[in-house]
């Protein structure tokens, strides 16, 4: 047996050996970078070709006139009192909507996270429906709640349509699920014993909540707030339908300047302003997300909920009442109107939908639009999963600043006007090999652009939560990196992948903006068909639009319900899918 004596001084090694070793270590490191860049290549290419390039082109066309860049336009536009008013309104309504959404939805987050009650899963799917519902449809349903002859009018004589309250409340309706899912998702996983430990140390229940739970939730609340702020900052349909002509957001203004007035310079400046704002929001969001991922002690979400007791019953009752009033009622109105035919309630409109599209190219049979929508959404989902999945895989490896920036970039489409993207497509994707303008693929591509951020947001936390040593354990047992991915990561993140797919699918299904601004061959999606029906007079068109909307809602709800059933079941160490 060879016995080494203690070696106190480091050994002097041959200089060439050192170089060889260094080179080898450097090669290993380089290989890591190459792998990461390789993973990022597809999403980066997708992002550049289908987002950055078109948007840059349309902005460039606005600011580049007669061979010169006209950055002076920025000053002109920002100096305009009307534009400044729009900017101010955009900001404050977003802030107010965010505050209101948090106030209304945080108790809901608690209820969904910590209380057990029958029908919880179904309800969680239902509150998410508005989030993916096209605003055209939801807006008109919402009018039935707040408008003339609506719920508040007939009950208290209060009409809120065309007041700013209608916008704010509708924003709560749309974003309720964002808060419930983001904050509630984390809340359900916070170890209740932490709070119990604080109580054993003498903290009262509220004090323990304030000292322990609130700081832990803080980053999630901030992240949810920022997402809501982002969605409301770029709000389009809600403001158009409910706000009336006196209210206009930046997004509405960009639409007007581009699609109606063709004032590209003004639109370009506004787009840049919106980019700056959205970029700032995303930077803050990324920062809070990082903080959220850092130091929490998480447990299985299935173990923390309990039956409501005492005051919690009142809280549960209150939350359910709010949901009923704010979400179920407008959705119910939609369904009711679709059934309210000329000869009383029945399926008249659904039946008459079937007779459409037999003779004219204007409206197509509903079954066909459902088919179109499903097909487009399926393709968009595949693209979003491939692009978003690869992006998440690249982002999960130790993130440098570059990578984090990439993360934020992928979110940018969420904050970009659909008309900007749509028109950008038209002027850039017009030459071979990318002459896609008259191709059907343009629609799912535009939809995927919106789906990718959702996929990344869902996948990333889960991939990050997969213990590195689990991968290592498989590697030392002889599994190659591909096998490790297939045998260890895929099963662990499979559920998250399904959730991501469902989200991308639902969002694609409801996507309206980009779809409508792209001239495309005649295969209208559900939201487009609804808009077309709403756009013409007739004894049946409105009822048919409502019937189609109900079908859209059901398809959305069904796919979300499938998602809900994919959430973590009782036991198991697998991390639950991320929320936004």
């Amino acid at each position: 047996m060879v016995v080494d004596r203690p070696q106190v001084t480091p050994q002097v090694t041959d200089a060439t050996d050192v170089t060889v070793v260094r080179r080898r270590a450097a090669a290993v490191r380089r290989r890591g970078i190459v792998v990461r860049l390789g993973l990022m290549a597809v999403p980066a290419a997708f992002f550049c070709v289908f987002f950055a390039y078109p948007v840059a082109a349309i902005v460039g066309r606005g600011l580049h006139e007669g061979g010169h860049w006209r950055f002076g336009r920025i000053g002109d536009v920002l100096g305009d009192a009307g534009i400044r008013h729009v900017l101010w309104f955009t900001c404050w309504q977003a802030a107010a909507s965010t505050a209101l959404t948090l106030a209304v939805a945080l108790p809901g987050a608690y209820v969904f996270a910590r209380l057990d009650f029958p029908g919880k899963r179904l309800l969680r799917a239902v509150v998410t429906v508005p989030f993916v519902l096209p605003t055209v449809v939801a807006g008109s349903a919402f009018l039935a709640l707040l408008g003339r002859g609506g719920f508040t009018d007939s009950l208290w004589g209060v009409r809120l349509d065309t007041s700013v309250w209608a916008i704010l409340i509708a924003h709560v309706f749309f974003n309720y699920a964002v808060v419930v899912r983001t904050v509630g998702g984390l809340w359900a996983q916070l170890d209740p014993r932490q709070e119990e430990a604080a109580r054993m140390l003498g903290a009262s229940r509220p004090a323990a909540w304030r000292q322990i739970t609130l700081p832990a939730l803080g980053p999630a609340v901030a992240a949810a707030a920022l997402m809501v702020f982002l969605f409301t900052f770029t709000s389009f349909g809600v403001v158009q339908i409910l706000g009336g002509p006196t209210y206009s957001t930046l997004e509405v203004e960009i639409y007007r300047q581009t699609a109606q007035l063709l004032d590209l310079p003004t639109a370009a400046v506004l787009t840049l302003v919106q980019f700056a704002a959205v970029g700032a929001i995303l930077a803050v969001h990324a920062w809070t997300v990082r903080r959220r991922e850092s130091t929490l002690r998480l447990v299985d979400a299935g173990t923390t909920a309990h039956r409501p007791r005492g005051g919690e019953r009142a809280l549960l009752g209150g939350v359910l009442a709010v949901i009923a009033l704010l979400i179920l009622l407008p959705l119910g109105v939609l369904v009711a109107r679709s059934l309210d035919g000329p000869d009383g309630y029945g399926f008249t409109f659904y039946r008459s939908l079937n007779s459409l599209g037999t003779s004219s190219t204007f409206v197509v049979a509903p079954l066909e639009t459902v088919g179109n929508s499903l097909r487009y959404a399926a393709v968009a989902t595949v693209i979003a999963l491939a692009v978003g999945g690869l992006a998440a895989a690249a982002l999960v490896r130790r993130a440098g600043r570059l990578v984090r920036g990439f993360d934020a970039l992928l979110m940018l489409p969420l904050g970009t006007s659909a008309v900007t993207v749509g028109f950008g497509f038209l002027i850039t994707l017009d030459k071979p090999p990318l002459d896609l303008r008259s191709s059907w693929i343009l629609v799912p591509l535009a939809q995927a652009l919106v789906g990718v951020p959702f996929v990344v947001r869902v996948m990333l936390p889960v991939l990050r939560a997969v213990d590195d040593r689990l991968r290592e354990a498989a590697a030392v047992l002889g599994a190659s990196p591909l096998r490790v991915w297939r045998e260890i990561e895929l099963p662990l993140v499979g559920r998250a992948l399904a959730v991501a797919a469902g989200f991308a699918f639902a969002v694609s299904l409801g996507e309206f903006g980009a779809t409508v601004f792209i001239a495309r061959p005649d295969s209208p999606t559900l939201p487009v068909a609804v808009a077309r029906l709403l756009g013409r007079a007739g004894p049946d068109t409105y009822g048919q639009a409502m019937a189609l909307s109900t079908i859209l809602m059901l398809v959305c709800a069904a796919s979300l319900l499938v998602l809900e059933n994919l959430r973590p079941r009782a036991k198991g160490a697998d991390p639950s899918p991320g929320e936004f």
Binding site: D4, P10, R22, V28, A474, S480, G572
Partner: protein
């Protein structure tokens, strides 16, 4: 300085260096493990033990030096092709697979046919004392059972070298003592080559043919358990092994000058300044008339004997001593202490 390369060395680590920023987690470590040998790396947390295992496994790229298995440089070989097993500190059982699925994972990766794989799983679960547990979910296992499954999983692909990271770290004492014996017996029977790391000296001495003590990324001492126990190579090793009677000394002839007065040293000890270790067995309690006068500060029951902590006068370092169960002095009693040269070890001055 360098030792001749043993022909039978299964693993040879040469000058392995790993840096995390400015800190060297492994600082030019050289180490060999012979076939069928069990080597235990012992050291406090942060001494680089786990990094050493990860470097050998190929999970941690080296900043310097190399790792050889059967004489072949492993620099370009990825972890999954090295044919070494690693049992993780917290097991890392795959949560989505049952016990059988976990154990069968390695053989599956090595394309072992199904029947042989199933036979292997049965055989290993028998071996680790969990017969018939193949269908159980890993979430339902106790700590000791998880440990056994992790061991079975690590053994299943028949690695040429099995590495254990704190193999018994999370288990309670009685289970640990029983498992240590079982493991030693098992490795002996299977002829497995084992490289284990632990911070528990008892575990290391019970398990290992040879012990490697690490400190700050470097090897402080290597030797058989008996060797290391009897001749700690430095005050650090001595203290890490639990010996507290260490003091500065100057040797002159047969005696050394220490804060405890004159202490006899083994014959032939070189003269000059050094450190001195007196093992508790070398501390003799006599009647109060001769020797160093100490006060008994504490006594601790140790089963076969009582451990005494003695306070010498004049703020000299405290002395640990052992006394038989019967007739041991009470706390507060005055005793006289003499030293026997057989239990005195001279350590290099720090």
């Amino acid at each position: 300085m360098t030792s001749p390369l043993s022909k039978r060395a299964l693993l040879r680590v040469e000058d392995a260096t790993v840096r995390f920023g400015p800190r060297a987690a492994l600082d030019a470590v050289t180490l060999e493990v012979a076939a069928h040998e069990t080597v235990c790396v012992l050291g406090p947390s942060g001494s680089g033990k786990s990094t050493l295992l990860r470097a050998v496994a190929g999970l941690q790229p080296l900043d310097g030096g190399r790792v050889l298995l059967d004489g072949a440089d492993q620099g370009a070989v990825p972890a999954h092709r090295r044919g070494v097993g690693l049992m993780f500190q917290d097991h890392q059982l795959f949560p989505q697979r049952d016990v059988g699925g976990n154990v069968a994972f390695g053989p599956r990766m090595h394309k072992v046919p199904r029947e042989r794989r199933e036979a292997r799983v049965r055989e290993l679960l028998d071996l680790v004392g969990l017969p018939g547990a193949a269908g159980r979910a890993v979430g339902t296992l106790s700590g000791g059972e998880q440990q056994r499954v992790a061991l079975a999983r690590a053994l299943a692909p028949e690695p040429r070298l099995l590495m254990l990271d704190e193999p018994l770290g999370q288990l309670d004492r009685s289970l640990r003592e029983r498992l240590v014996v079982e493991l030693r017996e098992l490795f002996g029977r299977l002829g497995t080559t084992v490289l284990a790391v632990t911070h528990d000296q008892g575990e290391a001495f019970a398990l290992a043919d040879r012990v490697v003590v690490m400190r700050d990324g470097r090897i402080a001492q290597t030797g058989t358990p008996l060797d290391v126990w009897q001749r700690p190579a430095s005050a650090f090793v001595a203290r890490f092994l639990g010996f507290e009677n260490v003091a500065d000394a100057v040797v002159a002839g047969a005696y050394a000058d220490t804060p405890w007065g004159k202490v006899p040293v083994p014959t032939g000890s070189p003269s000059g300044p050094c450190q001195i270790l007196v093992r508790p067995a070398g501390v003799r309690l006599t009647d109060a008339s001769s020797g160093l006068r100490c006060t008994v500060l504490a006594r601790t029951f140790r089963g076969s004997h009582l451990a005494l902590t003695l306070a010498p006068p004049d703020a000299a370092p405290r002395i640990d001593a052992a006394a038989p169960l019967r007739g041991a002095p009470e706390v507060g009693a005055e005793v006289a202490v003499t030293f026997t040269p057989d239990e005195v070890v001279l350590l290099p001055a720090e």
